[in-house]
Every structure is written in C-alpha cells, then in structure tokens.
C-alpha cells in the first residue's frame, strides 16, 4: 500500500481518458474533485490486490448516466462517498477498500473521490480494463459473479437499493431506470466483491497501468517527443492507421451514441481508408473495407500531434488522428468472455480475431 500523489492523479486522468477508447466521459470533473480534496489535506492510498484478504469486502463504484448531464450537475465526491456508506449500512459490514468498475474515462478517477471521502484505500484493479457501455460487460459478469445488490445515490438525498435481480442484464435495466428518474446521473456502488473474487476475476493493476500511461504521454509532450509512440511503447500497442477524419455519422438509439467515422489515409497509410464503428466506445475498425480490429482489443483514436484521446462525442471532420490497438485483458478472450464483449455483443456478425494474435 502506498500513498498516491496528486501528480499521479493528474497522470491517471490522462491515461484513463486513453483507456476510455472513445467513451467513458472526460475525467476532468473527477480530477477537479480530487485536486480540491488533496488541497483540503485528504490523501488516498493505493493497495495492491494481493494485499486483500480473501474475505475482505470491496466496494465497486461508478458514476452512471449521461456525460452531458454530468456537465451541468457536475460530479460531487460526497455523492459517490455516500453510495459506499449506504451499501455498508445495507450489508451491515464495512468495506476494506474501493475499486472502479471501469478504469476508462471519468470512472477511472471515481474511486479516489469515494476513498478520500471515506478514508479507505483504492484497490489497484477494475472490471473492464477500459470503458464499456453496459453493466454486464465486465470481468465479474464473465466470472458469473452475483450481480446484486446495488446502491444508487443522487445529491438530493435520494437513495435506492436494488436488492436482487436474476441477471446482469436485469441489473442494467433496473438501475438504468432509477438513474433516468433522478435526472440521468447518479453515483452507484455496484455488487460488492470479496477479496477472493477481486483477485480471481478483477482486471488487476489497471490503476497503475493508467498512471504509467498518463506519465508516458505527459513526459513525451513535455520533451516534444511523439506521444503516440510513447503510448505504443508503454502499452505494447500496435499502430493501425494514420489519417484524417473525412466523415462522421452519429445517432442515439436505446440511450447509446452510435455511429461511424471514416478516415482518409496520410503518411504510411496514404491511399487507404479506415472506417470505425462505435457504441459510446470504438467497437470495430475496417481497413479498406476489411474488418481489421474489433472489441475486446482496445481501439484508441488519438490526436496525431498531442497524443490525446479523441472521444466519439467530439470527433470532428479534419482532425489528424492515429488509430492504435492495445491488448485486451485475457479474461475477455475466452469464448465466454467474447459472449459478453466480443463483436457479436455489439451486433457485428464477425468472428473475433485479435490484431495481436
């Protein structure tokens, strides 16, 4: 266990945004909260998963809802902290530590808000290794761990518990309804995990991964080196395409942002085209019409100059981008893992083939 510095949190925010693979919401508001908490004297400890006892209880937190609503209601550390203590009251026992359900995007920073509020450490792990749009798209669901209970809190003091559901899909449906009713943004503490479950099914050391990734990007930017190369070196990733955005189509269906982005090749990719499909996050990429990269491999679209990640909500015509793939967590590569997060889970009739295979 070691204390995390505010500079590491700044790096975490940069790295988490890249691991958001186009979605997950900007970590900006979460980062502002941690800056304030640190300025007030709070400090957060990061705990290796191996330090968990098998019967320790771990809180799994995330903010749920529409990023646009979050831009108005903002993110408040007290709300996510309350989601954790509400769950402790419901369970009748205390949590040993807190972890994120998804390291990608704003939720990568959320455990630090809850941890500072409650004085508990953050476990160096998550359940996605990136960002995914739906609650059942986690390593815990792949492990068939029980999906209940869930606590949901809004800043008005509305507090809810989903006590029991038959499946992760049901949890997604019920919690989504509650979330919409309180204004389409809420802090949640999802099904608590034991130390043994985290060690067996968690995607381990992703907080450290995101911090190191952010540090590599920030250092490259500072030294005027190519941040894209820094990302590839740090994550053992693969450069897929360099180009500019030539067309974007977006639509919302069933509460998700879906669409496609078309790229025209530049540099080594000149003369080729690349098309990306997304559901909040980047899902599949086609080189010259042939499927080349697909979930669960991480697809990141980066600004070719700054190395900063480009979200599916803000991608726009003319941007110079580099598409890279980063390796997926092994838990998602099993046939069962692919049932949850493979291309067919997103409606693409494709057999998964990793670019790293």
């Amino acid at each position: 266990m070691r204390e995390i510095t505010i500079d590491e949190i700044e790096s975490l925010a940069v790295g988490a945004w890249v691991l958001g693979t186009g979605g997950g919401g900007s970590p900006y508001l979460g980062l502002l909260n941690v800056r304030r908490l640190y300025a007030e004297g709070h400090r957060v400890q990061l705990m290796d998963p191996d330090e968990l006892a098998d019967d320790d209880m771990v809180a799994v937190v995330s903010n749920m809802g529409a990023p646009l609503v979050g831009q108005e209601r903002l993110v408040d550390s007290a709300t996510i902290g309350r989601a954790v203590t509400l769950m402790e009251e419901y369970l009748g026992r205390p949590f040993r530590a807190i972890m994120s359900v998804e390291i990608g995007g704003n939720n990568g920073v959320q455990p630090f808000l809850a941890a500072a509020e409650t004085g508990k450490p953050v476990v160096d792990a998550d359940a996605m290794g990136r960002a995914y749009p739906e609650a059942q798209m986690t390593s815990f669901a792949v492990g068939d761990l029980k999906p209940w209970p869930l606590s949901l809190v809004d800043p008005r003091g509305i507090e809810g518990i989903v006590a029991k559901v038959p499946s992760w899909k049901w949890m997604e449906r019920l919690s989504r309804k509650m979330c919409v009713e309180v204004g389409s943004i809420a802090a949640t503490c999802k099904a608590p995990r034991t130390g043994a479950e985290v060690k067996r099914w968690g995607i381990l050391r992703t907080t450290t991964q995101a911090i190191k990734l952010g540090q590599a990007i920030r250092l490259a930017q500072k030294e005027h080196r190519d941040p894209v190369q820094a990302i590839l070196a740090q994550e053992k990733g693969m450069l897929l395409f360099r180009g500019k955005i030539a067309d974007i189509a977006r639509r919302t269906t069933e509460g998700f942002l879906r669409g496609t982005v078309k790229l025209e090749g530049l540099d080594d990719s000149r003369g080729h085209t690349f098309e990306l499909a997304f559901q909040n996050e980047w899902a599949v990429g086609w080189l010259d019409g042939v499927a080349q990269v697909m979930t669960p491999d991480l697809i990141c679209v980066l600004d070719s100059v700054s190395g900063e990640a480009i979200g599916t909500e803000v991608a726009r015509y003319g941007q110079r981008v580099t598409v890279v793939a980063l390796p997926a967590p092994p838990v998602f590569l099993s046939p069962r893992g692919l049932d949850f997060v493979g291309p067919r889970a997103f409606g693409y009739d494709l057999d998964f083939r990793s670019v790293f295979a």
């Binding site: 508001l29 831009q71 204004g183 977006r250 509460g255 998700f256 110079r320």
Partner: protein, 513 residues
C-alpha cells in the same frame, strides 16, 4: 444608398473606414490612445470630413479592449458569484478552476443556493429565495456591484436565474447582473466562467461604450452605435455594454469577414499571418465557423459563441534554424522586437522575414545582411513554411474539395501563390483595414442552443429557429430580413425520449431607426 462607418480599436492602431454600399470611400489609421476615446474621436473626425453632407446609417465598432483586460489582468471588478443548484454541484464551487492570480482579482464572494433544473425541465429543488436575498444583502454590505448568476440547466429553463435576478435588483439597486443563460451553453462550469468574466468587465464595458458614444457626439455623428461580436455580427451598443465577452474575438472575426467582403467570397479559408502566429479560420456563408469546443480565455475554460481558429507557430518573426538536418520554424518568435533582433536589421536572430528578404518576397531592412544565406536553405525554409500552412489549412477544411484561401496580415508574404488544397490564393486590396471593413459590414444575429424532447427532429429545429429569430430582433435586427445561416443537431447519449440538442443561428439587417 447605405453608408456605414466601421472602426476597429486594436492594441496598436485604431482603423476606420467609410463604406458606401460595397465601396470603401475612405480609410484611416490612427494610433490607439490610452483613453481609447481620443483615438476613436480622431478616426471619426477624419471619416466625418470624408462624409460630406450625406449621413451614415450606423457606426460599428470592434474592439479587443475587453479580452485584453482579462489577459493583462487590469480594470477588472470584483464579482459576487451566485450559483443555483444545491445540493448538486456543491464540491466544485464557482472559480474552482481559475488561475490563482485572476481569481484573486475577481473573486468577491461566492454563494451557492438550492435550486436548478434537470435535463427534462423538472426542478432539482425549488429555488431558495430567502437564501438568494441573504446572499444579495451580504454582497451589498461588502460593496460588490457586479454579480454573475448561474443555474443548473439554465439554457433549458432560465426561470430561476431570472427570478434570482429580480430578487437581487430589489436588494442591490444599481448592481450589474449577468445571467449565465444569456451567454453560455450546456456545461455549468464553462458557462458560469463566461458569466463571471462578463460580470468582472461590466464597469469597464459601461465606461468604454460611453466613451465611444461621446466620441461619436464630439465628431458630430448622429447615427446609432453598434458593437461587433465574436460571430461577425453586431448588437446595439447599450446591449453590448452588458455583454463585453461577446466581443472577445471580434478582432480576428472582423479581419476574416473584411477579407471575404473585399474579395467578394462567402465561402473561403482565411489565414492571418502575424509576427508570431498564423491564425486560420473558415468562412461559411460569409461568417466564421464557430468553435464547438472549450476555448481558454486568459487561462479560464469557456464555452460560448467563439470563432473556430487554428493557431500555428508561424509568423514574420519566427525563428528559423536547421535542426537534425531539417529546417525548423518557430514556435519561438522575436515578435515585436523584429526591428532590433532580425538579421536584416543587424540583429543576431535568423527569422522568416530574413528568408523572405533573401528570396526577394519582401523589402525590409538591409538585404545585404542576408546575402550569405544559401539558395537551398532559403528554398527549404519557404517550403517548410508552405508545408505548415498547407497542413493548417487542410485541418480547417470541412470538405475535401479545394477552397479559396485569403491571405492577410503583416506576414502574408509567407503564403505562397499556390498551395495544395486551395483553389487559389487571394490577397485582398485594403487588407490593412480589413478588420474595420469587417466591422462596417456586420449584420445582427440571434442564436439558440437547447435540448428538445418529445418533438420530431423537424419540430425541434423549427422551435430553435423561432427562438433565434426572437433574439435577433431583440438585438436590433429587422425581422423581415432575417435568414437562417447555421443549424445543427446532436443526439444526446443516454437520455431517453429521443432528446436532441439543436443550435440555430439567424442573421439580418439592422432595423431602421
């Protein structure tokens, strides 16, 4: 026949033009004076002499005075911030991400009270009117005369900001009150920041607009006064005095629009090459394309009506050096110290101006001082400058077809006569006063940016256009001349009911009288 006077008050020069229909009848350049008024008066008097007996219909002034005040941290008033939204948003109070030096000058008091709305129009909490009144009394007691009010989702429902303003006016007579929904978009912190910046500039804006009006009076010009805005349109001076932030980017905007007018093109890219940077903007139907992104002003994150500009480190004073076997230009620049530091003036630093003189593109300083530069080095440097411009121009294009490029600014000699991706490169006449021309030709606009629910896409877009039209008329437009120049819709992830965010903008001619 329509006659108008356009004036651009820059940091260095005050330019004025007299425009008759499409012709520049008179142009004058005078130094900007510390009191602003004298420079404007001198420019106006020169123009008035050229006018003869024919009156002008309107005077338009564009000024960088307000944005400079923020950047230079001067003439800013302390502001009372009133945010409506508790218990939401408590942990990130107003000013929470401001640069410390600016916050120290502007943060008068911070009050947060219960209220605000959800995205679907339901109140988060009822407005706590007693808390608003208490905040007003506390601000009054501290002598705070400028207030910014922000409320969660106020762009969807401004009622709580309006009601709080009513209470404040009763408790704090004479206070200047800025409401966030009048200025900003969705995004509470960024919209609130715009309101706070606006509020801290209120006394300066009041004073400056009065000085402009006084200058008009002294020059014997009776026409109504308008102030140009970021989007290339104008609002009545008394309205502009309430919204100084809306003129932050009027400098580059007016120069782009002026360049377009002088060449007769409505859809083009414009590159303004200065001493340190080149700013590339895009004109669509004669107006600058808007940035749909965060813009930092004096270190503060804002999101409001600003032109989409791409700035690259290429200017007439940019350093030139050979680095790892290739030519590197900028981003460092000698800037306004060109006459002492550049090689052509006997200085030690090789700049793009030296290269241009060596290549015969520019007459400046002493060409003999750069005669030693190899032809190949000169050629490679100009090629690198052209490559930087080509990439910047391409990044600003919204379609693959070639578009005309208008080159303006003191460093425009760096723009080659042919550039890939550009159908032609034009250098307008009167380029030196393009910004004053841009001011003179400005029209009046109105904008709406809202989330609509339970409507078809067509209905939502019609509703947005109606709101924009109402706002244009309020700003001084003739309703009969309004036309829609920009409309776009963005579906919103995770919100049920087919929620659609629509932005619409209309423009029209200034209403008579």
């Amino acid at each position: 026949m329509r006659r108008r006077i356009g004036i651009d008050v820059g940091g260095t020069n005050t330019d004025a033009v007299l425009l008759e229909d499409d012709r520049v009848l008179h142009a004058v350049k005078t130094p900007t004076t510390a009191d602003v008024l004298t420079g404007v008066r001198l420019a106006l008097e020169s123009t008035a002499r050229a006018m003869g007996s024919e009156p002008v219909q309107a005077v338009m002034i564009g000024t960088t005075h307000f944005v400079n005040a923020v950047v230079q941290r001067r003439d800013l008033a302390p502001v009372g911030a009133l945010r409506i939204g508790l218990p939401a948003s408590r942990s990130l109070p107003p000013f929470c991400d401001w640069p410390a030096d600016l916050a120290a000058l502007v943060r008068g008091q911070v009050h947060m009270v219960e209220g605000g709305h959800d995205y679907d129009g339901r109140p988060i909490m009822p407005l706590d009117e007693r808390a608003v009144a208490a905040a007003a009394r506390a601000m009054n007691a501290a002598g705070i005369a400028c207030v910014a009010i922000s409320s969660i989702f106020s762009p969807l429902d401004p009622a709580m900001e309006d009601r709080a303003a009513e209470i404040l006016r009763a408790e704090m007579p004479g206070a200047s009150i800025t409401l966030s929904h009048d200025l900003g978009r969705i995004g509470l912190l960024e919209r609130e920041n715009v309101a706070l910046l606006n509020a801290c500039l209120a006394p300066l804006a009041q004073h400056t607009v009065q000085a402009f009006e006084e200058a008009l009076r002294q020059a014997g010009i009776a026409a109504p006064l308008f102030i140009t805005q970021n989007d290339g349109t104008v609002i009545r001076a008394e309205l502009a005095a309430r919204f100084p932030v809306l003129s932050f980017a009027s400098g580059p905007t007016n120069s782009m629009r002026g360049a377009a007018f002088l060449t007769g093109l409505k859809n083009a890219l414009v590159v303004d090459v200065g001493g340190t940077t080149s700013d590339v903007g895009a004109l669509k139907a004669g107006f600058p394309r808007e940035a749909n992104a965060i813009v930092h002003v004096g270190g503060v994150r804002t999101l409001f009506r600003m032109p989409d500009l791409l700035s690259i480190g290429l200017g007439g004073g940019s350093h030139v050096e050979a680095r790892d076997g290739r030519i590197a230009i900028g981003p460092r620049s000698v800037g306004f110290r060109l006459p002492e530091l550049a090689r052509i003036f006997g200085g030690p630093q090789l700049t793009t101006s030296d290269i241009a003189v060596r290549a015969g593109l520019l007459s400046l300083g002493e060409a003999s001082r750069v005669a030693d530069i190899a032809d190949s080095f000169t050629r490679d440097t100009l090629a690198e400058a052209a490559r930087m411009l080509e990439e910047a121009v391409d990044r600003m294009k919204t379609e693959a077809t070639d578009v005309p490029l208008l080159a303006v600014g003191g460093g425009a000699f760096l723009v080659p006569d042919r550039l890939p991706g550009c159908s032609e490169v034009l250098r307008p006449a009167h380029a030196a006063v393009a910004n004053a021309v841009g001011a003179a030709i400005a029209q009046v606009s109105g904008e709406a940016d809202q989330v609509f629910q339970g409507m078809t896409r067509t209905e939502a877009m019609a509703a947005a256009e109606r709101i924009a039209r109402d706002r244009a008329v309020e700003a001084g437009a003739d309703g009969a001349t309004l036309s829609l120049v920009d409309i776009e819709d963005l579906p919103i992830a995770y919100l049920p009911g087919g929620a659609l965010r629509v932005r619409a903008r209309v423009v029209g001619e200034i209403a008579a009288g």
